[in-house]
């Protein structure tokens, strides 16, 4: 049941994801960053497909690359960024931040090295054609309460965004 060329596609997609993530945090122009972030999101959707999660991949493309990134681009257009682009990109504490992140990375590598043996060696074989159906059943049966809370959260977020972006607060 192993798909063909899994290894090649994994490295291809993950290299694209990581490189464009680096582009996101290094470019001067926020529009370039947003485009690089879309590339990262799309390659992550490809990785989800490789992990037999087609529904999550579709939601990733529709909601993230389609919805959230359009929101970002709208705000980039609304806010005048000309002045900010001429200024220094990184703040003064970047050395300290880099040291902290390197420590975190070393910790993660340590944890992976120690904990790699506890993973189950076998993968579950999901049925490929009923993934969406299975997720729907889980969402509306086991996770009905969190699902309703998520809808409430989105409602509150809409109201909050409208209130905060209103002219006179």
């Amino acid at each position: 049941m192993m798909p063909v060329a899994t290894t090649f596609f994994f490295y291809f997609l993950s290299i694209i994801a990581v490189v464009s993530a680096i582009v996101v945090i290094t470019r001067k122009s926020p529009v370039h960053s947003a485009l690089a972030l879309i590339t990262t999101l799309l390659s992550l959707a490809g990785l989800y497909l490789m992990l037999y999660a087609p529904f999550v991949a579709a939601v990733q493309i529709v909601l993230y690359a389609g919805g959230i990134m359009v929101l970002f681009l709208f705000v980039i257009m609304l806010v005048n960024l000309e002045k900010a682009q001429l200024e220094e990109r990184f703040n003064k504490q970047w050395q300290v931040a880099l040291i902290a992140v390197l420590t975190l990375g070393a910790l993660l590598i340590f944890v992976f090295e120690k904990g790699r043996s506890v993973f189950p060696q076998t993968v579950t074989n999901f049925p490929e054609n009923t993934n969406t159906q299975a997720i729907g059943l889980l969402l509306y049966r086991d996770y009905l309460m969190p699902f309703e809370i998520a809808s409430l959260l989105l409602l509150v977020a809409i109201v909050g965004a409208v209130v905060m972006a209103k002219k006179r607060v």
């Binding site: 990733q60 975190l104 992976f112 889980l138 969190p146 959260l153 977020a157 905060m164």
Partner: protein, 101 residues
């Protein structure tokens, strides 16, 4: 070439997470900081989906919840950003220092 295991996905997710943390900690532009937060959330999502491959579908449901949360967070944060820009005419994070002494 070797077979792709869960650990490979975890390493990619960790790399994305660290890049996101670097972005949050070092950039001055608020919009880039919000994008870095999206990177962090995506790294977590990749972890959840990779682990759901080992056990059952619950991880994918969690990933969907996190995407919904990310949408709510982005809407709120960008609303705050617009309100802030209207008041101070800047998008630089280190100029947001009203609560600093």
């Amino acid at each position: 070439m070797a077979e792709i295991t869960t650990l490979h996905y975890l390493v990619v997710a960790a790399a994305l997470f660290l890049i996101g943390v670097i972005g949050v900690l070092t950039r001055r532009n608020v919009i880039i900081i919000l994008m870095s937060i999206e990177l962090i959330l995506n790294a977590v999502n990749l972890n959840l989906v990779a682990f759901s491959r080992l056990y059952n579908l619950h991880g994918q449901v969690f990933a969907i919840f996190i995407i919904a949360d990310a949408a709510a967070e982005a809407a709120i944060a960008l609303g705050i950003l617009i309100a802030f820009f209207r008041n101070k005419e800047t998008v630089n994070m280190d100029e947001v220092d009203l609560l600093k002494w």
